[in-house]
Structures are given as structure tokens and as C-alpha cells.
């Protein structure tokens, strides 16, 4: 059952070939069997089976929708009433959310069954899932390698077939990078497409909820259920949500695929370059026009991001003060001691580092040199994309500069870790949608004939999620990379 697509699962439920309770039990068993991956922070088997049983009732009464009875997993960043929402942090280890995030509510209403809460980098700050208070997650393709981050638990769980679908969030690549490193499909929508209400904030002008699945078609259905206007998120955009599933089959002939020269320069692994080159060739064979373009300010995306994201992070994380919820230190001697010790005990190294950078760049006298400058560069990066989309339908490049790296390989050097998001970050600065699609594999150094998956990134203009899913689906109709399951799962 775990190899079936979401539409096959829905058909099976509809025809009575299996019940949602049976389906859910199957995944609950798999989650237990592959516990060593550490993909989940909280397993919710019992609650899931109750939800499944209710879904079966709805199906029997013919009151169901496309996702009724379909299991999924939530990244542990979306508040769910009565459920511990840790955000991968010791600070929120004891936090039982008192309300539902809009994403959680919408998927509950769609009849989805929640299998559990997936592991993640602490407060979504990381590219390897190693900053989680609950420990690193293993990449299902190689247990010694990272699954990527910050939605590493979600990506590993989908790749290992522990859940058909998972939610994620993406501030600088946190859906696309782990999707690429785990060999699955992951989409970050346009900023404002999905409500951020109830999603623990990291960098509010960059954060966006996203979807992870085995295929673009699976992601299309999940995005359709999550997207839409929400009065409770002041940056949510009031714009109708297309039926992405119905738009998957448009022919690609005559469309224009832009390939940025800047994404194929130094720093890109030769194996990744070759694999992504093959994908470009595939689109050319479909009678797409391949047009080489320039994104001249792309190399400044990381420097600008490491001003803007920490600045917003230090403001957002000021709320964790040990007073209203979350971790509180023992026996504080005064208010200052309460704040300082609660925060220092509750936050891990990477979170503290980013709070420190953010505080530094925003401190008196430095605003113009760092924050203002970064916002100006953000404008230039956004203008580069605007110019490109005047003449191309999508932009194609690698999602990551290399395949999954080893656990521990980059933990001693934050800057090297930051560079693993070199191709994904500019998309967040501009607020555009992008999808990572499995497009090949490379041999894993020192592991014989062991292969590691590679992803290509397709970026679209604002609200062009339908086009990205259409391109990805057409590619997946003719290729089998997305069907590859890690050995042993």
C-alpha cells in the first residue's frame, strides 16, 4: 500500500479495497518498524486510528472528498490543539498548543489522518536536521548522511514510505533542499499562498508552508487543500485557488525553460551538473525552448539572507521569555535572570547564533550597513527574476550544489552549512514558488554502488504553482526517478 499514489489510495478507499483504518495501521506499523530513522518527534497512532475510523464512516456515507482517510504527517512547527508542538526545540518541549494552525484545521476538515509530527531543525533553522533537540534524522538512502533540513523529518518519512504525504515549511529552502536530498518532490508555494497562522514564526517575510510527496500529482492535491485566503494571516493573499490536479496534463511543447548560467558555475558538483543537464535535455526533447538567462545578483542571496532572516528571527524569538509558555529556568533570582537563563537553557547553538547575528545587525549604528543594504539587494534579486519571467515560463537549475552530505560533516562550520542553500534562498527573498523534483542520482563516495538522489529546482512566477506542478508531472510521466524507493524500505 505504501507504494501507491494518493489518487490510487483514494480510489482504493472509494472502492472499498481497503479501509482508512487498515491503511493507517499499515503506516503506523511502518513508522514503528523504521523508528531508527528518527523522522518523527511525536507518533500519534491511536489518535490517527480514531480519525481513520471517522473517515471510513464518511466514505461509507458517501460524504468524502479527495483526501478523506489519506494519512499524512505534519512538521512539528504547525500548532495543533492538544498536541505537543515542539518546533524541534527544548524551549517548546512542554508546549501543548492551545489552538490549531489554519493548515492543520484545513487538512483535518479535508478528512486527512494525522500519523504524527515530524522532526525538524530547531525553529526551522538549519539545512541538515542536526540542530533538532530530538536528535539528527537519518537519510533513508544512507543512514550516515543527513536528510537535509529544516523539514528533514518530513522528507525522510515520505522517502521511506512512512507516510504518503507531509507538510513542511520553507524559509530559505527547507522544503526543497530535503526533498532533493531524499529523492522526493517538494513544493514551496508563493509567499501568501498558504496561511501562516499557527505556524511557529522564524522569519516572517520569508516563511511559507509547503508540501512534500512522492510525486507532483500527490503534492498537487495536498496544496489544493492547504492553500487559500485566511483573514487570520495579514499577509495571506485573497486569490482563488486553482484545482491543481486538473491542470497537470497541459502539453509542454512551445513553452520556454530558462536556465540561469549562474547556477552552473563553480561550487556545483560535477555529478549533479550532469544529472540536471540530462533533465534540461529532456525538456528540449518535449519541444520546450531552452533559453539561457542571467540572474546577475544570485551570488548575493546568501549574504542578504543572513542579515534578513536572523534579524526577523531575533524579533520573533523574543517572545520566548519563560513567562507565558515554554521552558522556564529553575529558581530565577530576578526578572533578568529569568529571561536570560530560560532562553539560554531552552535554545540550542544554531538558534542562539542566529539571534546573536540578528541582534548585531539591528543594533544601533549598524542598520544602514546591514539591514537596509540587504533589503536593497533583495530588491535587485527580485528584479532579476521579474526580468527573467518576462520571457520564460519556468527557471530550471539544481536544487542543491551536491548530494546528501555526512552527518557531522558541516556542523563545525556554520558558513559552509549555509552555502548548501545557495540555489534555493533567492526564491524566498523574492517570494516566488519553486518545486524540487527528483531527476537522477550520483554514486555515493566511499559507498561502492550506493546511489544518492539529486533534485532539480523549477521556479515559477508569482502564483504559478499550477505551472510548476504541470511541468513536474509531465516529467514524471516519462521518467521514473520519483518512483525509486531507498533500499531496505
Amino acid at each position: 500500500m505504501h507504494e501507491l499514489s494518493v489518487s490510487q489510495l483514494a480510489l482504493g478507499l472509494d472502492k472499498g479495497e481497503f479501509s482508512s483504518v487498515e491503511l493507517t495501521q499499515h503506516f503506523v506499523n511502518r513508522i514503528r518498524e523504521y523508528k531508527d530513522l528518527n523522522a518523527f518527534i511525536t507518533e500519534m497512532g491511536e489518535r490517527a486510528l480514531a480519525q481513520a475510523s471517522y473517515a471510513d464512516q464518511l466514505i461509507k456515507e458517501n460524504r468524502h472528498g479527495a483526501l478523506t482517510g489519506i494519512p499524512l504527517a505534519h512538521k512539528d512547527i504547525f500548532c495543533a490543539r492538544g498536541v505537543r508542538t515542539s518546533c524541534g526545540s527544548k524551549t517548546l518541549d512542554n508546549f501543548i498548543a492551545p489552538y490549531d494552525a489554519t493548515v492543520v484545521r484545513k487538512l483535518d476538515e479535508a478528512g486527512c489522518v494525522v500519523l504524527g509530527r515530524t522532526n525538524m531543525d530547531e525553529f526551522a533553522m538549519g539545512s541538515s536536521n542536526e540542530s533538532s533537540y530530538y536528535g539528527a534524522v537519518q537519510n533513508p538512502w544512507d543512514a550516515e548522511r543527513v536528510p537535509g533540513g529544516s523539514s528533514g523529518g518530513s522528507a525522510a518519512a515520505v522517502a521511506a514510505r512512512l507516510t504518503p504525504l507531509a507538510t513542511g515549511t520553507d524559509t530559505g529552502g527547507s522544503v526543497r533542499q530535503p526533498a532533493a536530498l531524499c529523492g522526493i518532490t517538494g513544493l514551496k508555494p508563493t509567499y501568501g499562498r498558504v496561511s501562516r497562522y499557527g505556524m511557529v514564526a522564524f522569519a516572517s517575510s520569508l516563511d511559507q508552508a509547503g508540501v512534500l510527496g512522492k510525486s507532483a500529482a500527490d503534492c498537487a492535491g495536498l496544496l489544493h487543500a492547504m492553500a487559500g485566503y485566511d483573514a487570520r494571516d495579514s499577509t495571506s493573499v485573497n486569490r482563488s485557488v486553482p484545482d491543481y490536479t486538473r491542470l497537470l496534463n497541459r502539453p509542454l511543447a512551445g513553452t520556454v525553460v530558462g536556465v540561469p548560467e549562474e547556477y552552473f558555475g563553480t561550487g556545483l558538483d560535477a555529478g549533479v551538473k550532469e544529472v540536471v543537464g540530462n533533465a534540461i535535455e529532456w525538456f528540449a526533447q518535449q519541444d520546450c525552448e531552452i533559453r539561457y538567462i542571467h540572474l546577475p545578483n544570485a551570488q548575493l542571496a546568501i549574504p542578504a539572507y543572513y542579515v534578513i532572516a536572523p534579524a526577523e528571527c531575533c524579533s520573533n524569538l523574543a517572545r520566548f521569555d519563560g513567562v507565558r509558555y515554554g521552558h522556564r529556568c529553575d529558581a530565577p533570582k530576578d526578572l533578568h535572570d529569568l529571561y536570560e537563563r530560560s532562553r539560554s537553557e531552552g535554545f540550542g547553538d544554531e538558534v542562539k547564533r542566529r539571534i546573536m547575528i540578528g541582534t548585531y545587525v539591528l543594533s544601533a549604528g549598524y542598520y544602514d550597513a546591514y539591514y537596509l543594504k540587504a533589503q536593497q539587494i533583495r530588491r535587485l534579486i527580485s528584479n532579476d527574476f521579474r526580468r527573467a519571467f518576462a520571457s520564460v515560463d519556468v527557471i530550471l537549475g539544481p536544487t542543491t550544489p551536491e548530494a546528501a552530505f555526512m552527518i557531522g560533516e558541516k556542523t563545525d562550520d556554520p558558513v559552509t552549512m549555509y552555502l548548501s542553500d545557495i540555489y534555493t534562498i533567492s526564491v524566498n527573498l523574492a517570494g516566488l514558488p519553486a518545486i524540487s523534483v527528483p531527476c537522477g542520482s550520483v554514486s555515493s563516495p566511499g559507498c561502492g554502488d550506493h546511489r544518492l538522489p539529486i533534485g532539480m529546482q523549477l521556479t515559477g512566477d508569482y502564483f504559478a504553482e499550477d505551472k510548476l506542478l504541470n511541468f513536474a508531472h509531465q516529467y514524471q510521466q516519462e521518467t521514473a526517478w520519483h518512483k525509486e524507493c531507498p533500499p531496505g524500505f
Binding site: T235, D334, L338, I377, G431, L432
Partner: protein, 95 residues
């Protein structure tokens, strides 16, 4: 620009983080390293470029000034570290 040990302590104070004496040097090095990455921005002139604070160049939406939330004090205080009679407790601030 490199970040000094003194600056590390000042920033930590502003951020309400406690940094132990033996961690200060390490922080100074790491932050300096990150700030030098950030300063690659200076290779580009941005004179006259309008700063972009947000992906959507639109004004903040306004809504009617009506009550939309109900009082849920007990539920919210149920997850607080210390409360008493509906109040959040902190160490004494005024002597």
C-alpha cells in the same frame, strides 16, 4: 569587520542570552566569520535602490475594529510555567 569579545557580551545582553566566559571567544570567531560572509554585499553598489521589506509590495490590510477572539484565559494560562489568580507570575520587579 570582526566582532570583539566585548561586542559579543553586549549583543548577548541585548538579546537576553547568557554566554559563559569560555564561550565568548568562540562566539566572537563565529560571528566574525558570518559577518564577513554578509559583507560580500558591499561588492555591489546599491545607491538609489529602493529597499524591499517584503515580497508583496502592498499596504497592510485593515479590518473592522470588532472583537474576533473570545476570552480563553484559563486555557492559555494552563500551559504557563507559573500563574496565580489569573496572573502570570515573575520574580519581584519592584522592591
Amino acid at each position: 569587520m570582526s566582532v570583539s569579545a566585548e561586542q559579543v557580551l553586549k549583543i548577548a545582553h541585548l538579546a537576553r542570552l547568557r554566554i559563559n566566559a569560555e564561550e565568548v571567544e568562540n562566539y566572537a570567531q563565529e560571528l566574525s566569520h558570518i559577518i564577513s560572509l554578509v559583507e560580500q554585499m558591499n561588492t555591489l553598489s546599491t545607491e538609489g535602490v529602493e529597499p524591499m521589506a517584503h515580497p508583496q509590495d502592498i499596504a497592510q490590510r485593515l479590518r473592522e475594529d470588532v472583537v474576533t477572539e473570545t476570552n480563553q484565559r484559563e486555557r492559555f494560562q494552563g500551559i504557563a510555567p507559573r500563574t496565580e489568580k489569573g496572573l502570570y507570575l515573575v520574580p519581584k520587579v519592584i522592591e
